[in-house]
């Protein structure tokens, strides 16, 4: 691509679109928003196509000094590339999701989404600490507005809760960032990623960053903003919230916490494990008893994000790659599930599960998509969710069998609450005449569902496309944190081949009773 500032262009397109939307009527605003997001998607594809796998760690870099060491610096590695792809892929779908259901202040709505897109790309592309911070925090504003203006009945409470939670963590992160810049004299993220801070300082810095990322993730027990935010947000707001905003926490752990504070990360790994184990079990059980579809999926998100955190803090390649795939997969799958809820919400204007039932009869194609995304959510092999879960859990098993066991119960609980949801929505008799009268997917809805379905299957059957760009970066990260990696609790001893031959032949002869050995 030479020196062409493609990343800046990707920021500029939605920004220009956003400003234009502010001054436009509903119909042209929709068109402008769709065109802008599609252009950004095409630019994203160009970005991916030109990304040199195995080339420099940071590609498409741009840098303009502004003042006092603060610079406008952009650049991506494979990890950022994948998350940017996720954002630009989901955005046109989000615009489509609000195409007919949003009729109030359409221009402002579209502007908020376009601004959101710009900020999300900015977060993943920023190479300057403060530039990152600005994008990271500014992302709150459009989301706050989306929930607060176009949300449901209780939108004010939800938006305030969302803002309060996320801002609180951010303040601590800002203080930590100021300290780091003061200490090292640079705001350059790649430089900071290879800086070794004193272990004592790492502890405090890690905790400060943790406060922010844990809320964004969200980790138990600072997750309670998520169900409310999801429930109140309009469909597209939920899609982008689950799809991309939650990924900023995981991205933060991978980009900041691990490489900058490896010792502190190892020191607090137990905390992450503990919170994640609680999250998997507790939020899955809570999801089981929900009557609100969006709340159920929101709680399931918390459980899935817990798999991400254990994967990240497994300190090995499988864990890291698994958690990255989990973020991408969850972005697609939970986005798709919220979209699926939106499709029937648009028809019946209720999220209450009991108001539906038997949708397989009158909406068979919808039921098929819903089934696919349900299966992806519970990690059926062949879908993206499996690769994600399998690698993350394989990663954590190498550190702690206990954590792996508890987190793997998520596959049972996940199956229980998702299939229970699916049964109540799609199976059974048609209990309500209005639900039975709903029509199947429209062309617009097909156009949103099909790309998601294909992406979910692609990532499940041939995840190499997504793993390859990240491989070198994950390896580099793994190498950097290897020195602090926690010890495995398995520690298998070598076998005694002599004994082996002996035992096998004895069983073969059937001469001796099978002696119990080693099992207590």
């Amino acid at each position: 691509m030479g020196g062409f500032p493609i990343l800046s262009l990707m920021l500029l397109v939605p920004l220009v679109g956003a400003i234009a939307c502010l001054f436009l009527d509903a119909r042209p605003a929709r068109t402008v928003a769709l065109v802008a997001t599609l252009i950004d998607f095409v630019l994203g594809v160009v970005l991916w196509a030109n990304y040199d796998i195995g080339g420099a760690q940071w590609q498409f870099t741009e840098r303009t000094e502004i003042f006092a060491g603060f610079s406008y610096a952009l650049g991506i590695d494979g990890i950022a590339l994948m998350l940017i792809m996720l954002s630009v892929f989901l955005m046109p779908i989000c615009i489509g999701a609000g195409w007919t259901s949003i009729n109030k202040r359409v221009g402002e709505y579209m502007a908020a989404f376009l601004l959101m897109e710009m900020l999300m790309i900015g977060v993943f592309a920023a190479q300057d600490l403060f530039l990152f911070y600005i994008f990271f925090e500014a992302g709150l504003i459009p989301m706050y507005l989306i929930i607060g203006i176009w949300g449901g009945d209780n939108r004010i409470y939800a938006s305030y809760k969302f803002f309060l939670y996320t801002l609180l963590g951010s303040v601590l992160m800002l203080i930590a960032m100021l300290w780091m810049v003061n200490e090292t004299g640079t705001t350059d993220i790649p430089t900071l990623m290879v800086t070794d801070f004193a272990p004592a300082a790492q502890t405090w810095l890690w905790l400060a960053f943790f406060a922010s990322f844990a809320v964004k993730m969200p980790m138990w027990p600072v997750h309670t903003w998520l169900p409310d935010a999801h429930v109140q947000a309009p469909t597209a707001g939920s899609v982008i919230l689950a799809g991309v905003l939650l990924k900023m926490g995981g991205y933060g752990f991978i980009r900041f916490s691990l490489p900058m504070f490896p010792e502190a990360s190892a020191q607090f790994a137990w905390l992450i494990y503990a919170l994640s184990m609680v999250a998997v079990v507790v939020t899955s059980l809570i999801a089981l008893v929900q009557n609100d579809m969006k709340k159920l999926i929101a709680y399931s998100s918390v459980a899935h994000m817990a798999i991400v955190t254990v994967g990240v803090f497994a300190f090995n390649t499988q864990g890291l790659e698994g958690s990255m795939i989990m973020m991408l997969s969850h972005g697609l799958v939970s986005g798709a599930l919220f979209l699926a809820v939106g499709v029937i919400y648009d028809r019946l204007h209720t999220r209450e599960i009991d108001r539906y039932g038997g949708l397989s009869i009158n909406m068979p194609h919808y039921a098929l998509f819903f089934l696919l995304f349900t299966m992806a959510s519970i990690g059926l092999p062949g879908t993206s969710g499996f690769v994600a879960e399998f690698l993350s859990l394989a990663g954590i098993y190498q550190v702690s069998t206990w954590v792996a066991l508890i987190c793997t119960t998520g596959i049972i609980l996940g199956a229980a609450y998702m299939l229970y949801l699916y049964r109540r929505v799609a199976f059974g008799e048609q209990k309500h005449a209005d639900a039975a009268a709903m029509g199947d997917l429209t062309l617009r809805e097909y156009l949103m569902m099909i790309p998601l379905a294909l992406a979910v299957l692609w990532m499940g059957i041939y995840p190499e496309s997504f793993l390859a760009p990240m491989r070198a970066d994950i390896q580099a990260l793994d190498a950097r944190i290897a020195r602090a990696a926690p010890e495995s609790d398995s520690k298998p001893t070598p076998g005694k081949p002599q004994a082996a031959v002996h035992t096998v032949s004895e069983v073969g002869h059937g001469a001796t009773p099978a002696a119990p050995e080693g099992v207590h």
């Binding site: 309060l164 027990p221 309670t224 903003w225 169900p227 507790v282 939020t283 059980l285 809570i286 089981l288 008893v289 090995n316 390649t317 499988q318 068979p364 092999p381 062949g382 859990l393 394989a394 098993y397 190498q398 069998t401 792996a404 066991l405 793997t408 596959i411 049972i412 199956a415 229980a416 299939l419 049964r423 059974g428 008799e429 059957i461 041939y462 995840p463 190499e464 793993l467 491989r471 609790d489 398995s490 520690k491 298998p492 001893t493 070598p494 076998g495 005694k496 081949p497 004994a499 082996a500 035992t503 096998v504 069983v507 073969g508 002869h509 059937g510 099978a514 050995e517 080693g518 099992v519």
Partner: protein, 696 residues
């Protein structure tokens, strides 16, 4: 292009075409596509199998696509063909093709046929992926894939609440097993650094005697890995403890029960243990575990089979019990015998299920055997084929001479268990003998209740329905089947009272004027073909599976103990004759109780009282699990939600903070009084404080 690619992927393509085409494509096209694909797969599979039987065929692996590469963990899509796979290939494709054909007749009235056939073909694809897996992860793909297909097919009549519940139960209980399987794969990767099956099996013997940390304790490495993997097998193959989903799975259409819940999917666990046999050989404890679970299951399931009234449930428990035989065979090291029984069982059990389907079809979807009777004249072909299946499952044959399919495989298993000479082997042998007695009893009970005696049809709601509403066929799928047998422990009495009152009034009234019809040809052909399997599969293939020199057939695809074969031949004569003896006792008991003196079973049930109730209620597993797992899960969910999230985190977190801010604002408001003197006072105090800080 290797034929295995066509065998495996043609059913997938057919499933996609039929599933997505659905209504646009039409039922006939969908049926032709899927059934045609399966027959092609079947025709291509037999030469592969016969190639291995004849000797000379080589194991091969056909790579398909890269799957995952993550650090040291790599696994690809690939199709492995060796003798073990070949056995499964013919079983799967043959039974599947016949079940597809059979479903043309059985599902003829169903409005959703394309969906049904698409699911069947999808299942076949997943099952084929399972048995051709070259690494543990692809095996897991097939494993969960068949689980999905099973879920969809059990819930095929999704309007029925019982079918939905059974579908979820099947999936979730299987997931409990899959938890073990997944942890087993993780552990195997940790120990061997690979998920490739050949590499693991090559390295496994060298790991005997190694120890590993697991959940804070140290265990024998291979024992931990094998037991974790075996927990997966227990889920899929419905072994004791994780079996509860299988009887409920009978909610699915009967062809599904024949294909998935008898012949193929439920045997995946046995296949897995055989495939990984070198791993299990490295851990005598794990093998003992397998044998004990298998022995216990074959006994326990058989006891329940003796008491059930629903024809499909009897066969379901019978399947559960027969799977127990296969597992204890594997557990004593007789993997060849386990695979042999898997092979013969696939034919005769599919036959029994399809026969039951034919009876149900004839009896207008009545599944309760108390409302059958005297059907042998009405549906003679079904009667004769089911009799062949019953002769096969009860193991009729003369030792050393000739017999039906089950005779060869079941006797081989029992002799191997005895010949193993271990305590575990002894346990398994006696469990197996007792189960064989009960197998004979409940199998003949089924035949006598269904085909002999006087007609007891008139009391059946389904028959009444048929008589009063000849055109009510289209609504049949919404009927609750088998509910009568659900919650009434005193069924023996009730059933016979009903039956007696029926023929006390008038022997001719027992029919209620209903005329059962023999099933159409598309349903009878599969029955006849499978009957051939039930009669000859044992005799023809015994040399390939269980005899000296069988090692040549297996070519190392599973561990084969030549010694065990010798031990089998050297068991005492009474051991050789005991299966035949108990089979005869079971037959005579069934004949006495259900033909000669029909008061007898009810009297026995009364005598046994609570014991009978306990067995009739399936050893109370469903009740136990309901109160130990299901109820607490929902209760905990509500507590964590209402008391945890809302009552604690929100209350002291954001809502609490908001409360503090609001209260704070109220106080601040009071300070903002507007009086100049109060502001002046505050200013003065501030000034004093600041000055004192500076001059300190």
């Amino acid at each position: 292009m290797h034929p295995i690619l066509i065998i495996v992927f043609l059913p997938l393509l057919a499933a996609i075409a039929a599933g997505l085409g659905n209504k646009q494509l039409g039922a006939t096209t969908a049926k032709i596509l899927t059934t045609g694909a399966l027959f092609v797969s079947c025709v291509l599979s037999w030469p592969i199998f016969l190639g291995f039987v004849a000797g000379g065929a080589e194991a091969s692996v056909v790579p398909v696509l890269k799957w995952v590469e993550s650090g040291a963990m790599t696994f690809d899509w690939a199709l492995r063909v060796d003798s073990l796979t070949a056995v499964m290939l013919v079983v799967i494709t043959t039974v599947s093709a016949l079940v597809h054909l059979y479903s043309w007749g059985y599902m003829d009235e169903d409005p959703d046929q394309p969906r049904f056939f698409a699911y069947l073909s999808l299942f076949t694809f997943a099952m084929l992926m399972l048995v051709t897996a070259d690494n543990l992860v692809q095996m897991f793909f097939g494993w969960e894939g068949v689980g999905l297909a099973s879920y969809l097919l059990i819930g095929f009549w999704f309007r029925k609440p019982s079918a939905c519940a059974a579908a979820i139960k099947a999936f979730v209980v299987n997931r409990v097993g899959d938890l073990g399987f997944m942890l087993g794969i993780f552990g195997t990767f940790l120990v061997f650094g690979t998920t490739s099956i050949p590499e693991i099996l090559a390295a496994a013997p060298g790991m005997a005697g190694s120890t590993i940390g697991f959940l804070g304790y140290r265990f024998d490495t291979m024992t931990v890995l094998c037991i974790l993997l075996f927990i997966g097998a227990m889920g899929k193959s419905a072994q004791l403890g994780l079996h509860t989903w299988l009887p409920d799975a009978m909610e699915g259409p009967t062809p599904v029960s024949a294909l998935i819940h008898a012949a193929t999917m439920v045997t995946a666990g046995v296949f897995m243990v055989c495939r990984l046999s070198p791993m299990f050989e490295a851990s005598p404890s794990a093998m003992a575990f397998v044998a004990v679970i298998g022995g216990a299951t074959c006994f326990f399931a058989a006891t329940i089979g003796c008491t059930q009234w629903d024809i499909k449930r009897v066969i379901a428990y019978s399947t559960c019990s027969q799977l127990g035989y296969m597992f204890f065979a594997a557990g004593v090291g007789a993997y060849g015998a386990a695979m042999f029984h898997l092979f013969t069982h696939a034919f005769f059990k599919a036959l029994l299920f399809l026969g039951a389907g034919s009876v149900i079809h004839a009896m207008h979807h009545e599944q309760d055997m108390r409302y059958y009777g005297a059907l042998r004249k009405e549906i003679p072909i079904t009667f004769w084929t089911m009799t062949a299946g019953t002769l096969a499952i009860t193991g009729v044959g003369i030792a050393g001479f000739v017999g039906f399919a089950g005779f060869y495989s079941k006797d081989a298993i029992l002799e191997a268990a005895f010949g193993a000479g271990t305590q575990v082997g002894q346990f398994a042998f006696w469990m197996g003998i007792l189960a064989a007695l009960m197998t004979s009893f409940y199998s003949w009970r089924l035949v006598f209740l269904t085909f002999f005696g006087k007609p007891r049809w008139a009391a059946s709601e389904h028959i009444q329905h048929a008589l009063h509403d000849e055109h009510g066929h289209d609504a049949h799928d919404t009927h609750g089947h088998g509910h009568e047998a659900e919650n009434a422990p005193a069924q023996e009495d009730a059933g016979h009272d009903a039956a007696h009152s029926a023929h006390a009034a008038d022997a001719h009234e027992g029919t209620g004027g209903y005329h059962p019809h023999e099933s159409p040809l598309v349903m009878l052909i599969p029955l006849l073909v499978l009957s051939l399997g039930a009669v000859f599969a044992g005799f023809v293939f015994q040399h390939a599976f269980v005899s000296e020199g069988t090692g040549e057939f297996w070519q190392g695809a599973l561990v084969f103990h030549e010694h065990l074969i010798h031990a089998m031949h050297e068991v005492p004569t009474w051991v050789k004759w005991s299966p035949f003896t108990v089979m005869a006792i079971g037959f005579v008991t069934a004949w006495y109780g259900y033909i000669r003196n029909t008061e007898f079973p009810a009297a026995v049930a009364r005598q046994l009282g609570p014991v009978y109730t306990f067995v009739f209620r399936k050893w109370m597993f469903d009740e136990l699990y309901h109160y130990v797992f299901v109820v607490p899960a929902f209760w905990l969910g509500r507590v964590f939600w209402k008391r945890g999230d809302e009552g604690t985190i929100n209350r002291f977190g954001p809502d609490g903070a908001a409360w503090v801010v609001a209260r704070g604002a109220t106080y601040a408001q009071k300070v903002q009084s507007g009086y100049l003197y109060s502001y002046a006072l505050v200013m003065l105090l501030g000034l004093v404080a600041a000055v004192s800080w500076v001059i300190k």
